[in-house]
């Protein structure tokens, strides 16, 4: 990890993070992948998951919960365009828990007219946020 890489995480209505990192782990639509400086140019869709930034190999990672969007990788820069992105401090645990419960409720007894795919996505987003703040199994 000789060279750091520029990282920018932006949500639709705000910039979440801008800085550099030694390595970046991103939840791609087909699984997590790592990016170092000099990576081949790539555009990937994002899944719901956690972005990890590390200053160096042994460093404590800086984490962000993201839900959907894209990542654009060039050799010098990683740009994460997320539908939603939050650092742990920005997550409202209570709200996430309520959202998870509501979605579970809907999925357990799906009434007609309920969008199952949407309820599932909502559940995954809520669980992802809870996992990030360590309030839901690792």
């Amino acid at each position: 990890m000789a060279h750091p890489i520029d990282v920018e995480i932006v949500a639709a209505d705000r910039k979440v993070f801008s800085g550099t990192a030694g390595s970046v782990t991103v939840p791609g639509i087909d699984g997590y992948f790592g990016v170092l400086a000099g990576h081949a140019p790539l555009i990937s869709a994002l899944a719901i998951g956690i972005v990890e930034l590390r200053a160096h190999e042994a460093g404590v990672p800086q984490l962000f919960a993201v839900a959907g969007g894209f990542v654009e990788v060039t050799p010098e820069k990683v740009t994460i365009l997320a539908d939603a992105a939050e650092a742990p401090a920005e997550i409202d645990a209570e709200r996430a828990r309520l959202a998870a419960e509501r979605a579970e409720e809907r999925l357990r007894a799906p009434e007609p007219g309920i969008d199952v795919t949407r309820a599932q996505a909502s559940l995954l987003r809520a669980l992802n946020r809870l996992r990030l703040i360590g309030q839901y199994g690792k």
Binding site: I29, A40, I43
Partner: protein, 275 residues
């Protein structure tokens, strides 16, 4: 001619109105600052997305949202404010929007903002969706859902072209084509890029999001322009009140002087008579 007392009362009224105008100006300039902050906050995402779209469009790609069709039915999305007292802000954008809507028969409309929505309803234009009021803080989620709905209407063939008309902050009234999406030509295409999972699928995810940011950033810009218009309208009103107070004070002094002169004349006249 008003009596001295009437003029005094009038001066007080003008002064009170002036104070209200000054307060509204202050409130609007605070709202303007917040609106500008929101524009700044939304810009990185919008810019980055536009750059990706521009570069992708450099390649030979097809997508229903890029498809050019003969215009059998046009769509117009028009943004105004909820409230007046913003100078000619609403009048101008409503007039231009009407021109655009009437340019094609049976145009499907999406009014955003109370003034626009009320006008369109009164004239009986068909609407696909209505957002009224805009409210003090536009939520991304609201306009994302609206953009999705407009995109679906386009793909379904309900409309063949959608234009967006709004007042852009620091620019003026802008008419912009929303659909089919016309990407600004990028400097470099993504020829060597790896696409995960494939270029077509990326485009399918990308274009609806691009549409959302187009609508959302337009609303943010229109809200900022509204507050800017109100600041200048209210500061003009405050100045006018100053002029009016000056004129009225002059009248007041004249009328007072006339009364004194009259009384003096009476006294002198009476004294002469008594002699």
């Amino acid at each position: 001619m008003l009596s001295t007392r009437d003029i005094q009362r009038k001066i007080r009224t003008v002064r009170n109105i002036q104070q209200i105008c000054r307060a509204m100006k202050t409130v609007s300039s605070i709202k303007l600052r917040k609106a500008e902050e929101r524009i700044r906050a939304a810009r990185p995402y919008a810019d980055a997305l536009a750059a990706v779209v521009a570069r992708l469009a450099g390649d030979d790609v097809t997508h229903p949202l890029l498809e050019q069709r003969d215009v059998r039915r046009a769509g117009v999305v028009a943004i105004s404010a909820d409230k007046g007292l913003a100078g000619s802000y609403n009048t101008n954008v409503v007039r231009e929007a009407l021109r655009l809507v009437r340019a094609q028969p049976d145009t499907l409309t999406v009014p955003i903002g109370r003034k626009m929505a009320d006008t369109f309803r009164k004239l009986g234009f068909p609407t696909e969706a209505v957002i009224s009021p805009v409210g003090p803080t536009p939520e991304f989620r609201t306009y994302a859902a609206l953009a999705d709905q407009i995109g679906e209407a386009y793909i379904a063939g309900t409309v063949d072209r959608v234009q967006l008309i709004f007042t852009q902050f620091n620019v003026g009234i802008v008419t912009q084509q929303l659909l089919p999406i016309v990407p600004q030509a990028g400097d470099e295409a993504y020829r060597d890029f790896i696409f995960e999972p494939g270029q077509e699928l990326i485009l399918e995810q990308l274009l609806p999001r691009y549409l959302r940011t187009l609508v959302y950033t337009a609303v943010l810009s229109a809200v900022a322009a509204e507050h800017a218009a109100r600041v200048s309208a209210m500061s003009l009103a405050t100045e006018n009140a100053d002029d009016l107070i000056g004129k009225l004070t002059m009248d007041y002094n004249k009328s007072r002087q006339a009364a004194i002169t009259g009384e003096l004349g009476d006294i002198v006249g009476a004294a002469e008579a008594l002699r």
